[in-house]
């Protein structure tokens, strides 16, 4: 016998334990048992809305005595670091860690997001009236009517700190504090702000109360010795000369200046939130932000209106104390806001056409595109190759619907939450956006009060076109059923609406609904309208004899509409003919 033939190479011997470890792990992962939805109501309210107490730091100067606790510390966002980290360091860390995506964490059994300190279900779960849409994040009492106030009654008590648009804070008698801004191209900026905020609010995000107003300069009284500071600029006096300069950019022939006014948010401001990680000193913040569905899916919202400036600097957290008299005291909780959509509805590349054409299609520094285009000799045609500014609508730049591809939209630099958006996250947002009717879009665009009617018409057309593309992409992949519920006197009807059919993404005849049980048996589907349907569920479990949550009562039904590639699977508990069915969960 040849000894050499029997010897196993040393390298192979060393690799065996590692390979065995991998093999065992793979087998273990594949052998995981089925995870059943429990028989319980879906979670519709997250516990981060419950007040918590945070110990005050030792020696904290601001902590009043006998106080239960303090607010979290204030986080100051760094624009430079946010950009550098997003463009260079975080992608490298993720690449070296072979970081994999996964499904979002804050998703309930019905594939929906509970109400939380981040998100409040509105349009997705109930009708939103046109009046509510117009109010956006405002209460009626927050709406401003400058002409109803006497001259000098609005006091400017602070200059704006940060950002690229000059502005100031004003105290309006009986209303409170507002941040007011004005800049060149103000009509588009104001439109983007109010329309964008209204859309975000309707979808379910917390937003400030933003509104467009026309202000006569004599209304304003300027306190002395004020300063303002734009990003990367030094503090400068905010005096009468500066105020006149701010107003001059947007003053109409009637002498009134167009401005946006943003009501001061309630609570104690503690800075923006990041799109990654958690806030260590917020006990309620336990889900990495990049794994929150509403943040991930807000990518589609940003894509729709081309809100390319989506970054932590355009978010804000406030601490809502249970004691209004002590806003920085515990107990309380952190509320998370989306603010400042003023860069949307356009493609302003900061005055640089090379950048403006790429806005929404590539990052400002897009390593993938740079290397891909270099290696492939530019063979691939890019969207910006064919872009031309919107003819007759220069305020919108390159913002259009023809060159919009929802799944390829990019903001100015990578956003970790956006990068981790899954198909399910996107489908969830699409189901919400599907509720925006053409009439609602007209109401939203009317908030802009464009001087030129054709600008109103153009923007409406573009928003409709982009929305259609978004819905086409995300309502024809995963099953687009919504409003699913058990209905009927016998509670044996599973009813819902097909949002793709509701939006007319295909002719009605193309939708052929099919429902099947786990064993493949077909279940009749009753079509109530073009989009609404009900499925009569057959009972296979008795009224009693086994616990309600017994596996034998667990029923699975798959539902297809003949258009979407994937089916929806509904999981129900069959409690018997007397008590009917309970919807326990949905999977797409």
């Amino acid at each position: 016998m040849n000894m050499r033939q029997q010897t196993v190479p040393r390298r192979t011997r060393r690799a065996r334990p590692a390979l065995a470890l991998v093999a065992v792990s793979v087998v273990a992962a594949c052998a995981a048992p089925e995870r059943r939805f429990p028989l319980r109501p879906p979670l519709w309210r997250d516990t981060d809305l419950d007040p918590v107490s945070i110990p005050c730091p030792a020696g904290a100067k601001d902590a009043p005595p006998h106080q239960e606790g303090c607010a979290p510390g204030t986080y100051q966002s760094s624009l430079m670091w946010d950009g550098a980290d997003s463009i260079v360091f975080r992608p490298l860390s993720s690449a070296f860690r072979l970081q994999r995506g996964g499904e979002a964490i804050d998703v309930n059994s019905l594939d929906e997001v509970p109400d939380s300190a981040w998100f409040t279900n509105r349009l997705g779960v109930r009708p939103v009236s046109l009046d509510e849409l117009r109010l956006a994040g405002c209460r009626e009492e927050q709406l401003l009517e400058p002409d109803a106030y006497p001259d000098g009654s609005w006091t400017i008590d602070a200059g704006k700190k940060g950002g690229s648009v000059p502005g100031f804070r004003v105290v309006v008698p009986g209303k409170g504090k507002y941040l007011m801004k004005a800049t060149q191209a103000m009509e588009r900026v104001a439109a983007a702000d109010v329309i964008g905020i209204a859309i975000y609010h309707a979808v379910g995000f917390d937003t400030p109360c933003d509104q467009t107003i026309h202000v006569r300069p004599s209304l304003l009284t300027l306190r002395p010795n004020l300063q303002y500071k734009l990003s990367f600029d030094k503090g400068r006096p905010f005096d009468g000369e500066m105020l006149a300069k701010v107003l001059a950019d947007t003053t109409a022939p009637d002498g009134r200046a167009l401005m946006t006014a943003s009501a001061w948010l309630p609570g104690h401001v503690i800075g923006p939130f990041r799109y990654q990680g958690v806030r260590a000193d917020d006990p309620g913040d336990v889900i990495p932000h990049e794994d929150r569905r509403e943040l991930r899916a807000s990518r589609l919202l940003a894509a729709w209106i081309n809100h390319f400036d989506t970054r932590e600097g355009n978010t804000l957290d406030t601490w809502l104390s249970t004691k209004p008299a002590a806003p920085a005291a515990s107990p309380g909780y952190v509320r998370h806001y989306q603010i400042d959509t003023s860069e949307s509805l356009s493609s302003d590349g900061w005055g640089q056409d090379e950048l403006a054409r790429r806005i929404g299609h590539a990052y400002v520094v897009d390593w993938g595109d740079l290397s891909g285009d270099f290696v492939t000799l530019g063979i691939r045609r890019r969207p910006w190759d064919d872009l031309r500014p919107a003819r007759n609508h220069p305020v919108f730049g390159y913002f259009d619907a023809d060159h919009f591809t929802p799944e390829r939209w990019k903001n100015q630099y990578p956003n970790e939450a956006f990068d981790r958006m899954t198909e399910r996250d996107g489908a969830w947002m699409a189901r919400i956006l599907a509720r925006f009717t053409p009439e609602m879009l007209r109401v939203l665009v009317a908030l802009a009060q464009f001087t030129e009617p054709q600008d109103t018409a153009y923007l409406t057309r573009v928003l409709e076109g982009r929305l259609h593309k978004l819905l086409e992409r995300y309502l024809t992949g995963l099953a687009p059923f919504a409003d699913l519920r058990v209905d009927g006197p016998a509670r044996d009807q599973l009813c819902g609406v097909d949002l793709a059919a509701l939006r007319g993404l295909r002719p009605p005849a193309r939708f052929r609904f099919d429902a099947r049980l786990a064993d493949g048996a077909a279940v009749p589907v009753r079509r109530l309208s073009n989009a609404e349907l009900c499925v009569t569920l057959p009972h296979r479990a008795p009224d009693g004899g086994v616990p309600d949550d017994a596996p034998s009562r667990y029923t699975r039904l798959s539902l297809r509409d003949g258009v979407a590639r994937e089916a929806l699977t509904a999981y129900l508990y069959d409690l018997g003919p007397a008590r009917g069915f309970v919807l326990a969960g949905l999977e797409r």
Partner: protein, 447 residues
């Protein structure tokens, strides 16, 4: 103590970490709800498969995450809070609209000494359309370049005045003629002082005419770079004959006219078109007896085809260059036609080929890579020859290949930032094997 201070800075500076890394006690986090009631999903097979690769990549992850990312996460926000970016911006720029400023620049290329320096610009200095530029670079005491440029733009017209001095010891010289061997490389030093004035007028589309006058004075000296011989040593060793004018400097006044007919239009039009260029330059030596005079002529014809209509441009150009003495004198060797470097056949190093005339055909493809960044790939056939291409023989042709990236230039008188990789070959007769590699990176002002 330094580590403690850093820890303290991380504690204070990173508001996001807040009190998590500090000594302050934090309230316990709330329990994560079981959102769908099914409990944690558990690991899947992909987690197992990536386990070993993640272990292998962990050193890179640790380097990026803990040696770069986390310290910078403290340092950069702290710098921003202390207004460091604004102070730097104010330091490097001047003027009410920051229309002036200075930037560090540098250039590095194989087989040449690198350089670093400063570029100062002042747009609309004292009046609109009046720009001033200062560019200074150095490396060793023998290497210094300073150029002062003044431009006045008014409408289609541009007037430019420039004074430039350059002294460097590493000019390469390989010998004259189409088959000068790469191995014969030697070095010479030169000190050049030049002043010129030119007038340029933009005509139809990208066409323009330029006329100018100037004075150039050149003094030669012993050169060096790495282990290369000096030109004097190479001549003494009989490697090649002394090139004309080597033993004396010269000063000459120059006049030139350049006419370019270019049918191309700027974006968003396509990049297709035709370009014809003719250049004539006459030089007269000053204070030399007998006075040398020479005439440089160049002609280029190029066709550009925008393949996709989106600025993916394939071009073919044919160029011929000549320099001839007028009268009995000779042309100093530093004024001869040269191929390589920024000129024709960019895959070759600077001044690789020298003689009285040259011809080259170049096939080039350019495409947009990113904002203001263009990719180029080009191949060329050509070589230098005796006067008026007298010794032209296609077996003497060489090939040049180059690929790279460059920033887009706002005008032909600006200098791009480049990254270039090039190859040059021997003659076809010698088998056309690769004889040289060229790598260049930086702001390419030329040598």
């Amino acid at each position: 103590m330094q580590i403690g201070a850093l820890f303290g800075a991380m504690c204070l500076g990173s508001g996001w970490a807040g009190r998590a890394v500090c000594a302050e006690p934090l309230a316990p986090k709330r329990a994560l709800p079981d959102y769908d009631g099914r409990g944690p999903a558990g690991r899947d097979a992909a987690d197992a498969v990536t386990l070993v690769p993640r272990l292998l990549l962990s050193p890179l992850f640790v380097t990026d995450e803990y040696l770069l990312r986390r310290p910078l996460a403290v340092a950069i926000p702290a710098a921003e809070r202390h207004d460091v970016p604004r102070r730097l911006y104010d330091f490097f720029t001047f003027g009410p609209g920051h229309q002036g400023g200075f930037l560090p620049v540098g250039f590095a290329e194989f087989d040449l000494q690198p350089s670093y320096g400063v570029y100062v610009f002042w747009h609309d200095a004292f009046l609109p359309g009046h720009d001033l530029y200062l560019h200074a670079e150095t490396w060793t005491a023998d290497w210094l370049s300073v150029a002062l440029t003044q431009r006045l733009r008014f409408g289609r017209h541009l007037v430019e005045l420039q004074v430039r001095g350059i002294r460097r010891p590493d000019y390469p010289f390989y010998g004259l003629g189409p088959d000068a061997p790469y191995a014969h490389r030697s070095r010479y030093g030169a000190r050049t002082l030049e002043s010129k004035a030119s007038y340029d007028v933009r005509l139809w589309r990208a066409s323009h005419v330029t006329a100018g006058v100037g004075v150039r004075a050149v003094q030669f000296s012993q050169g060096w770079h790495d282990d290369d011989r000096s030109l004097e040593d190479a001549v003494a060793a009989g490697t090649f004959a002394a090139p004309p004018g080597m033993d004396r400097g010269y000063a000459a006044e120059l006049q030139h006219v350049t006419a370019v007919l270019d049918t191309r239009r700027p974006w968003p039009e396509t990049g297709s078109g035709v370009r014809l260029k003719a250049h004539v330059e006459e030089a007269n030596e000053l204070q030399a007896a007998p006075s040398g005079r020479w005439l440089r002529t160049e002609a280029t014809a190029a066709g550009y085809w925008d393949v996709t209509g989106a600025r993916r441009v394939l071009s073919l150009s044919v160029a011929a260059q000549f320099i001839d003495p007028l009268g009995a004198g000779t042309v100093p060797f530093s004024e001869l036609i040269m191929l390589g470097g920024n000129g024709l056949m960019r895959g070759f190093p600077w001044q690789r080929l020298m003689e009285r005339s040259a011809a080259a055909a170049t096939l080039r493809y350019e495409w947009p890579v990113g904002p203001w960044i263009t990719g180029t790939i080009q191949g060329a056939f050509g070589n230098v020859f005796e006067a008026h291409l007298r010794s032209f023989d296609r077996r003497l042709l060489r090939m040049s290949w180059a690929v790279g990236l460059s920033s887009e230039k706002a005008s032909s008188s600006e200098y791009p930032i480049e990254l270039l990789f090039g190859l040059g070959t021997r003659t076809l007769e010698d088998g056309a094997g690769i004889e040289s590699v060229r790598v260049a990176v930086g702001v390419n002002y030329g040598i």
